[in-house]
Symmetry: C2
Subunit: 319 residues, 2 copies
């Protein structure tokens, strides 16, 4: 929800000279994406999103992200296609920061997803996983389970400040993940941040996904777990099992889950909640009080962790 980097008309003109897109017609900063600066750019050729990558995104990872977006788009998945410059490069530099132009992807994100939206999001995620097959890029999940204990270590006090006793509870979770985190599940390139604001619809039909800047190689079912957490909890913190089952059913219309994936899903969802709790706790602590972007409340994910400790019932007893 922020535009960090301010681009002058002269800088835009110099930047666009490297592309074959014609003269700019309109250029507006948009409130999309928390990590980067995004601009809606219209040129004589069409409409695009110009993204300036701010410091949180590692420049070395950008070829993976942009390569995955192109791979997906080439295979018919509705992802914004990166636009190559005249020299065939996906990436350019703007204000000494990496920057890319991608095609404009129409669609509306939903704030309060219905069960139908959850079903369609599940289908969309399965389409993404199927389309990502054969992608040659490789990027480990640097926010995956093996990293969580190290992320939490310096944040114990902050956890205690949020809720006395929370630190010990988190460490118990982390120990349990270390012992029993699922191995050997089908892996591939995953979105890893398939939240409602990154998913577009036309009506209640899936229309595309944006913001691939957490994408990485990991278990496909872990991507479902992230998505369940993001879409299938009510504002009051209650888990919506109907929405979750619809999401999984939507996913399975295109890519049926193996018994091992189904069995692992509750634990993966518990871990996925930990991943977002930890990064929010870190950002909550690290963000200056006068920052332009308000950090997201870690307590939302603390409550989801508590739900997961009780265990999810995602499949009917006979499944």
């Amino acid at each position: 929800m922020a535009v960090y980097t301010d681009i002058t008309d002269a800088e835009l003109e110099a930047f666009l000279a490297a592309y074959d897109l014609g003269a700019p017609v309109s250029f507006k900063g948009i409130a999309e994406g928390v990590e980067n600066s995004n601009f809606l750019l219209e040129t004589e050729r069409g409409r695009y999103i110009l993204t300036v990558f701010e410091k949180r995104v590692k420049a070395d990872d950008l070829p993976y992200f942009l390569g995955l977006m192109r791979h997906l788009a080439d295979r018919g998945f509705p992802s914004a296609t990166p636009v190559k410059d005249r020299k065939g490069r996906d990436l350019q530099t703007l204000r000494a920061k990496p920057a890319a132009i991608v095609e404009f992807l129409p669609g509306l994100s939903v704030r309060k997803p219905s069960v139908a939206h959850c079903r369609a999001a599940g289908e969309g995620l399965a389409r993404l996983h199927l389309a990502s097959e054969g992608f040659s890029g490789r990027r480990g999940n640097d926010l995956g389970q093996p990293h969580w204990a190290a992320v939490f270590a310096p944040l114990r006090k902050q956890a205690e400040a949020l809720k006395p006793g929370l630190s010990a509870t988190i460490e118990k979770d982390l120990a349990s993940f270390a012992l029993s985190w699922p191995r050997g599940l089908p892996t591939g390139a995953i979105h890893a941040d398939f939240f409602p604001d990154n998913v577009f619809f036309h009506g209640d039909q899936f229309a595309g996904a944006i913001d691939f800047y957490f994408a990485c190689d990991d278990a496909l079912a872990y991507d479902i777990a992230v998505t369940l957490n993001a879409w299938c909890f009510e504002a009051d913190g209650m888990f919506n099992a109907t929405a979750a089952r619809a999401m999984i059913a939507g996913y399975e219309t295109l890519r049926p889950l193996s018994p091992a994936e189904k069995a692992a899903l509750p634990l993966l969802a518990h871990g996925a909640a930990m991943r977002f709790f930890l990064t929010r706790l870190h950002d909550w602590d690290a963000t200056p009080k006068d920052a332009l972007v308000r950090p997201k409340d870690p307590m939302e994910y603390e409550r989801k962790l508590a739900v997961h400790r009780e265990g999810l019932h995602l499949f009917s007893e006979r499944a």
Copy 2:
């Protein structure tokens, strides 16, 4: 540069039901306008800007602003035309706030205007003044000269905090304005905020103006004075007489100034600098430290005031 009001997809759908614009295709918060929340809205029919008016804009003034935009557009001035709802109304309500849809106006604003841009902006402002003739709306300038002393009275301490001695200097200015503020100049509907971020270009040709939410009835030459201050100072605080003369020459190609207007212009520019100094001083003091929008620095206009106290030389000696 802010999106204050968050609109859900369900709220957008309910809002659009009052219009004949078809279903929404895309909807993005944009970083345009400091006072209101603006969204780029694409529907099956076309592209629009949806504005939600935040508290600083008085709801009673909105018919004047929107009426002026329609009046200008009807007379060929490139201003965003308000879109009427099915009942013929320019204004609707969204999240209990007034809201309007206007047509999308293409064009790029310039951050560092060239002399050619200043000339074109002058022409554009003259076009606006000529097109506003015959507009039947009436709205006094509630930020005009008669109001400045009352605005400043509670801000003396803040002025002293910025710069010791500033309070007395400002009061001397205000007394001088009260005694000799120009009367009897040609008046009409003026934009009153014709800053570079509110003016669009195609290349260096004037392409339109947006953000009419300070428009009011006042001396047309006062609008030129506001514009000179906004466009014709360098980043180091120096007045750029070449740019100013180009702006006035551009203006005069369409609407020649009377001798009285020319004579008044330096004092009007001094006063226009006071108006922006005062509102920035007020906002600087009133904005909480953790606000999402950083207030603009009042010292920029304090330096412009100092330039104006020396007197501008806008016209050659023989003029």
